[in-house]
Amino acid sequence: MKIDFTKEALMPFLGHNNEVSSTHQNFTKQIHLQASGSELVMTTTDGTMWLRSCVDGITVQEQGSVSLVVQDLFKIVRGLPSEKVVSLGQIPTEGEAGGLTMRIQYDSVEYDLNGDTGETFPGAKELKVPVCSVNVGELRTLLKHTYYAMAQKDVRHYLNGMKLEIAKDGDGIVAVAMDGHRMAFAEIAREGEDDDSDQQDLHWHFLLPSKSIQTLMNLLEGEDDEAVLEIFREDENVKDISGGDQISMKIGKTVLVTRLIDADFPEFRHIIPKQDPEHSFDVDNKMLLENIQRVALLSNTSPDNPTSVHFMSSSSDRLRMICNRDNTKEGAKTELDITWTSGPGELRIRYNIQYIKDALSAIPEAQDVLVRFSVFGNDLASRLEQVAPDPSPASLRAFCLVMPLRN
């Protein structure tokens, strides 16, 4: 195999491939390159998902395939001078059957990498049956509003991922993630669809693992808002897609094949409070976030070692936030202006500070963003959502539910 390429042609794809690979197994460290016609197909896997990208804008001198260590290739290509045409080709070696050496060469620089012919590299299944397609800009918005609430390494494995519900008639998408103490919900609905649609048959359901979501977010980052993501599955005959199956997602010339989590996601619609809140107030998002970060300075806020923040108010239009170190008199407090929208009165409630920070950080940064904080009691989840300016796109409905701490 022999190709000529530039850093610009390979780099964006190679970065995504590098993130998919893992060090568990020999083949998960490798990238499989196949040159044919006028394009190069690059594949990496971590054993549960595959990322396959077609790169054009390169010159194939000699067809063939090879497997190389992805991290080495990534480091070399990242360090190349821009717009320089570089050649990658096999050089004749003696001895060792099965192995081969590839040389990357430009000017007077040469890198030699050991690899193999790539015959044993486990390729992804070809999934050909189309399921549905999603607007990239919308999906990106939904993921940004929800990804932070996915659990990491929870024993309830169905929480280590994100649930996507895509209406079969293309009328809306819902993304939900939760870790048992908080839930992030985002929905784009068209045609005034009613919220309580328990009509499961009208939707495709996907429960995607958190690593697939992270990779998908990286892929979507560089794409045009109007682009379309197509979802494929393996078998026409199966009525619905369930866990354990694989799906493939295609954006442009990149295909991500991933397994789904084989479990039922909790009934999240039952958790969303329907009643009117006991208290609710509007507050400037940036001010609230800054104040929370200020009071949290003295406490250690790693996810494993959480700290709490007290929200307190009397009926005045001031919210007091207090963050104490346990068992000591050390701590910090601050106050900021709020506007009551319902039930002004005595408020005393306590949250995990990290959860509030995550929820506020997920709201896109802009001038004068108002968030509404709705409290439903000390043993029900409180709701945080953006109220002004109107969310974009206009059909977006996103909020985060956070369980308060018991007093």
Binding site: M183, N305, P306
Partner: protein, 333 residues
């Protein structure tokens, strides 16, 4: 709230598992754990106070690891005992608490506020009964002789015994299991250190020392390590035997204070001719493991175990000729 502690890891673990399973049957769906060695003590109350969206009750599993129970632990643990837990269950698991920690204020506070389960080691005289009851619970019968064999093979290690019983239960035997069937079924899973073997010989228990010696041969120990360890013991012993003040001689040979009593006891048991024979055997074994003399170093080292225990070897009583595995080391000129 439950407090499970004790020196027997198997029993502590099984007690905790039973509590967790009972809680799950009562509909406690959520479980979180706090490890005293990785988590910050300050976050302990938060672990209890955080509420779940998916379950109304939860179980907090607090695991106290020895070595992480410094002064900083006292106050959070006392607070934990005093805190309002609502409908939640707190399970405190402490393996290997030393007696000093059991006299502390936090331990008393925890024990006072909870159901305390002390899983102490099973005494040797009750071990046979324990093994037989455990076999019964697994659905088969174990004869007393068979239980004794398991106890001997596992040296009273409960985890190893439980594993052996589980292994037998896999075969689902219909008739009572006796010693003869067991002999083939279970392996020798004891493990010893060289130090324990030497101490045993110095204590005068030749049979047990020999058993440990041959067991060491089957594990990863090398004969040269054993030669080196014996040298550390026999040379001070020789010096002490030659000195009018054995105690002082051992001190000046830098034997640690705690072991001097053991060595003095061995000197009384082991007269000069046995000690000299042991030193000869050590020289032979040293040469044998270096390949400078013929013979098996393990057999020569076994003789040392016997001699140091104060027992004469057969050839010393004149019953047999000196065995061929004691050639004199070749002298290099």
């Amino acid at each position: 709230m439950y407090l499970v502690h004790g020196g027997e890891p198997l029993l502590v673990q099984e007690a905790c598992d039973a509590i967790i399973q009972a809680a799950q049957r009562q509909g406690v769906a959520e479980r979180s754990s706090f490890h005293s060695d990785t988590h910050d003590w300050e976050s302990l109350p938060m672990h209890l106070q955080s509420q779940s969206m998916l379950a109304s009750r939860k179980l907090l599993h607090v695991r106290l690891w020895p070595g992480s129970l410094k002064n900083r632990a006292a106050k959070p643990l006392q607070n934990l005992a005093a805190m309002d837990k609502g409908a939640d269950i707190v399970l405190v698991q402490a393996n290997d608490l030393n007696p000093a920690s059991q006299r502390t204020a936090w331990f008393k506070a925890l024990a006072g506020a909870s159901v305390e389960v002390a899983a102490s080691a099973v005494p040797a005289r009750e071990l046979i009964g324990w093994l037989m009851r455990r076999a019964e619970a697994k659905g088969f019968e174990l004869t007393e002789a068979a239980a004794k064999l398991i106890a001997a093979r596992t040296e009273g290690n409960l985890s190893a015994s439980a594993q052996e019983i589980d292994k037998i239960a896999l075969g689902a035997p219909a008739a009572p299991v006796d010693r003869k069937q067991l002999h083939e079924a279970i392996g020798d899973s004891t493990s010893f250190t060289i130090q324990r073997m030497i101490d045993c010989a110095l204590g005068g228990n030749a049979a047990r020392a020999l058993r440990m010696h041959w067991r060491l041969r089957n594990t990863a120990a090398s004969s040269y390590q054993i030669v080196a360890m014996w040298r550390f013991v026999l040379l001070p012993l020789q010096a002490a035997a030659a000195s009018p003040h054995p105690h002082r001689a051992l001190q000046s040979a830098r034997v640690s204070q705690s072991r001097i009593g053991l060595l003095i006891g061995a000197l009384e048991r082991c007269p000069a001719d046995l000690l000299n024979a042991a030193l000869d055997a050590l020289a032979s074994a040293d040469a044998q493991c270096k390949g400078a003399a013929l013979g098996d170093p393990w057999r020569t080292l076994a003789d040392i175990c016997v001699l140091v225990s104060g027992v004469k070897l057969p050839w010393q009583t004149g019953a047999y000729l000196k065995p061929p595995w004691h050639p004199q080391p070749r002298r290099y000129s």
